[in-house]
Symmetry: C2
Subunit: 413 residues, 2 copies
């Protein structure tokens, strides 16, 4: 038996300073759970905390700019109407960034989780160095920080969404869709933001998209997988309301699950990866280049091009059916392994759901052991292509919501 | 936005009674983490709690029979040697039950997690009704409860390990290996135990095996998958020290992951399931019945028979290679999806590791996107075929360790 490991993995003792931090989070959670303003009396009732304690905690949250007071609710018929409390629209904000086939995107969300700013910068050079891309992203980030400030918002952090596994929330290991291999995007972005530097992190786009869809569902959706991707296909997995990150944060590489052990070669070096059947590039490869060009304008995204072509090209429809079958087989493997009840087709796949859903559903019905007792729902995700950049912005807000005490200390004059 | 949901998913407020329950768990956790006795002074230092608080909590744990005092440690050279505290060897115990090809098994573990009793009852009738099997299990359970009592142990609960998905810790949905379909094993076992009834639950054997391996590793192994099975193949997944159960508790059905979309028909109704390539029945099918009989005695388990035949049958060796390839493809899918760094071959597969490991490792190396940066370790599990029944017994202890306060209240005279 090993010697005592110094506190590793132990629960924190319940002491006074922890109690205050815990209860600040608790009060904030109750205010966040309700779109309507909540009074101090309601908070005392809901949490079981004493009213003077609630008042002190509320004062701290007001000072930190995390919540605001709103006028008495005149719809109440009895008694003196209490002052309501709601999440601040001018407090801390989150900034998300992403890269797509045709653009770079920035998104600002306020502390209530509302999107306040969403901006697309066209990519002038289709192929640029990773460093140049980061510099371009830093430029739109700086502009977004200024725009946010003009609306009374303080950007508390920046998160960049990327299509590939990320180590230590900074180093991108392998993102062939954007030509990045072993590139420390976080350090470069931190340096490029310079004096505007706030906390910077880099994260996998599929996981971030899942977080955005989870927020959008009012957190009612507790277990689901979110299939996301432009050229690169990935999956964000939420289990019991938590993003499943895996041992090293590299979960969700659904695009590299084997569909056919002796199938087509993949950029990763393996054979028969899902990417080779259900990636947008694989679907588009079903039609000759000139037909693609005649059916699409140069500014269309690949998913829109596929959608346009599907109406008149039997080859594209056959490719979509193959993609649906391959997706269904891989998703069935995932559901057999981790038991999920909902599949959201997100990102580009949200635009192709019409052509994919039936085949995915059929494969899951056939191949998931428990599907006969508990059907799995497959549908287009509500947000779609903007989910990753919105999720990136929301992670910043989530960090502040989880630990309001640290934010309050940091912003104390 | 939905109306306020009454407390659903909210953190509990930090109040006095919660603080006591929390700190009881904390003290117990520190005592459990060390094989050597721990003094009250060391507990105060390690937890940051005041000494009188530690003394009160320790008294509660002593009264509940969860810990015991041991004589002063004479190896200490300075000062008055303090009294040490250690987990009780005569307090609450856990009882696990399982079913195998040739036997029914009962296992008792004490509060320190040590196996105190492990008994195999031969299955006289190879095919019995589910009800008869439960009655036979109840008989060995009652005997084990008496044996435990004679050693000063109080069985706090019973957990039955089964090879298939279980609903609400009671109803077995589909376990073709033992011929159970939609059978409420928990209710039957509760009734059969009658006045000896303690808390009864039913759980998937692969997940329970993973818990046992996790305990055996001194909880050093934080992320791993445990491949377990006699005739039916399943996987227990531990992520960040927690068993991954999935949306409805039906995770780990690795045996029904598709290896070949047009492959062999499976009992579940699908085609090309891993079970059809790597299940023990599929491996044994490679040799004619008479050769099996000539190479095996009637009391050998299937895994031992395969091991005996592998030395002289090229057909069995080829079948083992096919099994290893299929296992590697499915495990690679799992690792791409949830990112795990260790694969333990457990149950019958621990006995076949020599013939399976290399091929599994090769497939994972080829097919897991992130394997080039972080190799995945594949090896035989330390415990092997008894892991599920030991894990079943440990879950009972885990429940008491997690919430000592409830146990103390329940046993108060």
């Amino acid at each position: 038996m090993p010697a005592r490991r110094a506190g590793a993995g132990f629960m924190a003792p319940a002491r006074q300073e922890n109690v205050r931090a815990h209860n600040l989070g608790l009060i904030l959670q109750h205010i966040a759970a309700d779109a309507a303003p909540v009074s101090r009396i309601e908070l005392a009732r809901a949490t079981g905390l004493a009213r003077p304690t609630v008042s002190r905690l509320v004062d701290d949250l007001l000072t930190g700019g995390l919540i605001t007071e709103v006028g008495p609710d005149r719809t109440r018929s009895t008694g003196r109407p209490p002052i309501g409390l709601t999440l601040s629209r001018t407090g801390p904000a989150g900034l998300g960034l992403d890269m797509r086939t045709g653009s770079l995107t920035a998104c600002v969300v306020d502390f209530a989780g509302t999107v306040r700013h969403l901006e697309f910068a066209p990519r002038t050079h289709p192929v640029t160095s990773p460093e140049q891309t980061i510099d371009d992203l830093a430029a739109i980030a700086k502009a977004a920080i200024r725009t946010a400030a003009a609306q009374g918002l303080t950007v508390a952090g920046v998160t960049l969404a990327v299509p590939g596994p990320v180590q230590d929330r900074s180093r991108v290991r392998f993102a062939p869709a954007i030509g990045w291999r072993d590139f420390d995007a976080g350090s470069r972005l931190r340096a490029a933001l310079g004096s505007d530097a706030v906390t910077v992190s880099v994260d996998n786009e599929a996981g971030l998209a899942a977080l955005a869809e989870w927020h959008a569902s009012e957190k009612e959706l507790r277990n689901f997988v979110c299939l996301f991707g432009d050229f690169e296909l990935g999956a964000g997995i939420v289990l019991d309301g938590e993003l499943l990150r895996g041992a090293r944060g590299w979960s969700g590489e659904l695009g590299h699950v084997t569909v056919d052990p002796d199938g087509v070669a993949c950029a990763c070096g393996a054979k028969g990866c899902l990417q080779g059947y259900a990636g947008l590039e694989a679907i588009l490869a079903a039609v000759p280049d000139d037909e693609q060009k005649s059916g699409a304008t140069s500014h269309q995204t690949p998913a829109v091009t596929i959608g346009v072509l599907a109406d008149r090209s039997p080859e594209i429809r056959a490719a979509l059916e193959r993609a649906g079958t391959a997706l269904g087989i891989s998703l069935a493997a995932m559901i057999n392994i981790i038991d999920i009840d909902t599949v959201l087709l997100d990102g580009s796949y949200s635009l192709l759901a019409t052509w994919l859903t039936d085949e995915i559903q059929a494969q899951i019905g056939d191949r998931v052991l428990t599907a006969r007792w508990a059907p799995v729902e497959v549908r287009a995700a509500p947000i779609g292509p903007d989910a990753a950049v919105i999720g990136a912005a929301l992670t910043v807000i989530d960090d502040v919501r989880r630990d309001p005490s640290t934010w309050i200390t940091r912003t104390r004059p």
